[in-house]
């Protein structure tokens, strides 16, 4: 299992990407799943950094990755304002270009690319946990 601590700014995404790519390479996780994991984490972290805090202070966001056999379990926790991504409405995907809303896609990507997801608010923290099956060929 690896634990990563990042600060609540978007530049930290580069650091996280490097760590995820290293983790995937070490565990023989292919390009497609590596890409999806980077996307999932970017969408979740971007949401936390952009909407999670009302103050200007620095905050820690914790990321855990745990691979057992072909199942990857990830936990992301932050001390930002309460936010449950599970209740975010799915964007209207069949609208034409004029009607399509800009935004709202990030959480939809996350939900489309993982197997299980759960959320809890505990001691002032958002704790988001998801699992993803790692297909060795992908």
């Amino acid at each position: 299992m690896i634990k990563i601590k990042i600060k609540n700014n978007l530049e930290e995404l580069n650091k996280l990407t490097n760590i995820i790519e290293g983790f995937c390479a070490e565990n023989d996780i292919g390009m497609k799943i590596t890409f999806q994991l980077n996307l999932i984490f970017e969408e979740i972290i971007t949401n936390i950094v952009s909407y999670g805090y009302n103050d200007k202070s620095s905050h820690d966001i914790m990321v855990e990755l745990d691979l057992k056999d072909d199942l990857l379990t990830c936990v992301i926790s932050d001390d930002g304002i309460s936010f449950d991504p599970l209740i975010v409405e799915k964007p209207k995907l069949d609208e034409g270009v004029e009607e399509r809303k800009i935004g709202g896609l990030g959480i939809h990507f996350v939900k489309s690319m993982i197997n299980d997801i759960s959320y809890k608010r505990n001691n002032g923290k958002n704790i988001l946990k998801f699992t993803k099956k790692i297909n060795p060929e992908a």
């Binding site: 978007l10 530049e11 995404l13 580069n14 390009m31 497609k32 890409f35 999806q36 980077n38 996307l39 970017e42 969408e43 971007t46 964007p91 995907l93 069949d94 609208e95 034409g96 270009v97 004029e98 399509r100 800009i102 935004g103 896609l105 990030g106 939809h108 990507f109 489309s112 690319m113």
Partner: protein, 106 residues
Amino acid sequence: MEIAKRKQDDKLIISLNGRLDANTAGSLEQELVPLIKAGETKIVLDMDMLEYISSAGLRVLLMCMKMLRKQEGTMTLARMKDFIKEVFDIAGFTPIFEIVDSVEDV
């Protein structure tokens, strides 16, 4: 993220090299918006060297597409990698853009 531009007849071909994410989407927006405002109507994005895209990148493309539509313009996406195409599929963006295999197909 490297953004290169070239004009070929009435087409403006923009090559994207690298990652289009929350940190780089702003630079693409700054490149594209003034060009569309200046009246470009046929924009081709060459995605052969694009390694990664997230919702931040899609947001810029949708915004530009909305602007282009108002001036009867088009945006064509060429040489998309499979895993990037899948993101467009999940987003429901595939019918919104014209997607081609080669820049010459435009």
